[in-house]
Symmetry: C2
Subunit: 459 residues, 2 copies
């Protein structure tokens, strides 16, 4: 194996054989392939892509560079959901306990916030005492007792992915669909899943905003999943506006608890129910989405899901009392209303502007390891499309000082777009715009036929 | 300057500002930009190219990372020729002394053979005692005494180019036209030239075989030269067959001396005269190519060029007696004739096959630093297009042992293609197929208009 020849072949758009690519990747782990060679290879992949067999080889080598969880002894289908990330996306918090309440085993390994999108671990860690840095033994113990766990990636999971991600981060090769897909799927497959539901965000606040590329990402990831024997589906969901009304770690925990009580914003509830129903589907519990959805609604409205959440918080070291008394969560010392300067209609609420402002207000990270202030954020009181009056409070900023308030108010001015007439409002994406479901039975070398359903048009 | 952002901009096809690119390159010299970052950048350049301003910045930073020669005190226009390399390309050996005999100062910094193409330094070092590893002081002394010198690159010349070349070599980013152009031109400009003639090879045995890409290389390099104030022209010349009849270091020295005597193969003489005339042109001696050519012919036929060669050999430590007695050169212990199996016409002589065979016979390098046997090689007795009889000796193999002879004979069987009829012969490229001459007076930011002349069609 001559590394430069392999790089050249990929550069020329040729397809590497599994043994060639495996030798190159294992060579990197053994330091026979040097960092600059891998960097050049990743950039060649950025331009040339990877075909399904190459993708599978990359995922396999990443996956087997570390340990794989096995939660099948617990007794339910092992299922997870992964989101590509967005602003106000707190879905995992109600969804993991909901799925557990429905009989699924949910070993949800999550990340921290980076860039303008928030991270599930950061949100949960705003609960006093809550720990996400669990060992594999602790992960299994929480799973056994609760049926779900939300924890960080251990050092043992896909170390090759970790090295490649660090390299991509400094070499301008992050935003490659095959590399993103392989990175996500190697970590998810390390959870030893039977089924996986992917929430691929689309729109301004998504990591990949364009619908066509988001669909490509969804197809690439579901393809990897099914070829690896994991029932995998993806929903394309709206991130052209924030999800729900709360943005900011502690504020989002409060909203998640509301959702678990059967309350909270309708878009959050809707997405949690849709994803919950899909999880029952990929878990093999029921293929009837209507029935699955009804079961999910019942678990949410009965308090069964909330009860699982309470137990998960307790098992992971957090204060379960917050479920009944949200004032136990960190609270920002300052707050200020953001008022409408004129009457009209809310046309847009631009997610990335609010996400970036939270970083500046101390509630997010510029780089890995930065401390995070869980209390800061925004509560939106209106949503896109809605009619408003002059002077109406459209949002509240929560900050740790006056400077933070200023940042927040300025961000709201930039993010919230008001138009005069109903007709002038921007078109919005449907909450769920497409569903990607490769057929598990009909998989050839190319990953099988896919059944994409486009579920809605811009409303 | 955030290296990953600069890599991303280049990756996206944006044009970097001179200060951005300079900061990135200087950052690399200062180790603020890491090796994997430069590797990813080079791969992005492979796919996206460099615009003329970016090219100039790269060349300038490479050039000024080291020292620049100044041979203007010697008294003639300082002019050089550079070839992109081929099989049997010994043009530099007769051309440098010819140009010196015509009043030019020729500080020819040359490379070693790598891959299937030979290197001027290796050819000259087959002369007993001949040294090419000269210090700058020695280069200047030979130039003062002879008017020409052929030596290797010193450590002081363009160290950034040296680092980038080593990195490109291991990362599959060698064959990028802007990177090749910048690398060649930074080294050539470090000779402090008034004029430069580029011999860009085209055809099977060339580094870049395709005519269109070779033309692009010629335009890119001449553009860099003229924008840097150096009169630069390029000829596209044929490398779809070997140049001359001798292939192999010592054999090529013998043929070069024949050329300097006004003898030797006509294609070698023709190319030496054409390039010599162009050197007089870019040196500002005469713009009349007919007159320049006549002067070059006279210097070759009068023995003036041979006399310069003899002095250069002497000044660089070699045995000048070889000029009168070629038997002083290393001679292979074994030789064997390669005979025609049937009558017909020679259709092709494939250069790379013979070049690669010489490596296997010990006369070339697999990697830098390998020792070279100067005596091995091929003498061709026929040329493409020629009629031959059954049993006729088409070539002679020179090798150091029986195994080498076998390799050589096998290579000739593969390289020499015989067809039955005159009509079935392959089309050959004209010796000089195009001439690229950017206008020095009309240079805008885009490098000025170019005057390309297509000089011939496939014969």
């Amino acid at each position: 194996m001559i590394p430069a020849r392999i790089i050249e072949r990929k550069r020329n758009g040729e397809v590497l054989t599994p043994s060639e690519l495996e030798a190159f990747l294992l060579g990197y782990l053994d330091e026979d392939v040097q960092e600059p060679q891998m960097a050049a290879f990743l950039m060649a992949v950025y331009f040339r892509g990877l075909d399904p067999r190459e993708l599978d080889t990359l995922v396999d080598v990443m996956l087997h560079s570390g340990g794989v969880l096995d939660a099948h002894g617990i007794g339910g289908p092992v299922v997870d959901k992964h989101s590509t990330g967005g602003v106000g996306d707190k879905v995992s918090l109600p969804l993991a306990p909901l799925a557990a309440a429905l009989g699924l085993v949910v070993p949800m390994i999550s990340g921290r916030g980076l860039g303008h999108t928030g991270g599930t671990r950061d949100k949960l860690e705003s609960i006093p005492g809550f720990r996400t840095d669990l060992t594999t033994t602790e992960v299994m113990r929480v799973l056994e007792r609760v049926g779900c766990v939300i924890a960080g990636q251990t050092e043992q999971v896909a170390p090759l992915d970790r090295r490649l991600y660090a390299l991509r981060d400094i070499t301008g090769t992050v935003s490659s669909i095959p590399l993103i897909s392989a990175s996500i799927m190697s970590k998810k497959l390390a959870e030893g899943l039977d089924g996986l539901v992917l929430d691929v965000k689309v729109g301004e606040g998504a990591f990949i905003p364009e619908e066509a590329r988001a669909l490509e990402l969804a197809r690439t990831m579901t393809g990897i999943g099914v070829r690896r024997g994991v029932r995998t589906r993806a929903l394309l969901t709206a991130m052209d506006r924030p999800l729900g009304r709360a943005i900011g770690n502690a504020l989002e925990v409060v909203e998640s608890v509301e959702c678990l009580r059967g309350e909270g914003p309708p878009d959050l509830r809707e997405l949690v129910l849709e994803l919950g129903a899909e999880m029952l589907g990929v878990g093999g519990v029921t293929e009837d989405l209507g029935e699955a959805r009804a079961r999910a609604e019942a678990a949410l409205d009965s308090g069964a899901a909330l009860e699982r959440f309470r137990r998960m918080v307790q098992e992971q070291g957090g204060d379960p009392g917050l479920v009944d008394d949200p004032s136990r969560l960190p609270k920002a010392s300052e707050s200020a209303p953001f008022r409408a300067e004129r009457a009209g209609f809310v046309s847009r609420v631009t997610p990335s502007v609010l996400g970036m402002a939270i970083i500046e207000m101390g509630g997010g990270r510029r780089k890995l390891g930065d401390p995070v202030d869980p209390s800061v954020g925004f509560m939106l009181h209106v949503e896109p499309g809605q009619r408003i009056e002059r002077g109406e409070t459209l949002a509240t900023v929560h900050a740790s000082d006056r400077a933070g308030l200023e940042v927040g108010l300025k961000a709201l001015s930039a993010a919230v777009q008001i138009v005069e007439s109903r007709e002038a409002r921007a078109a919005l994406l449907p909450l769920v715009s497409a569903r990607v479901e490769p057929e598990l039975d009909a998989l050839g070398a190319q990953g099988g036929r896919e059944r994409d359903t486009v579920l809605g048009q811009r409303s």
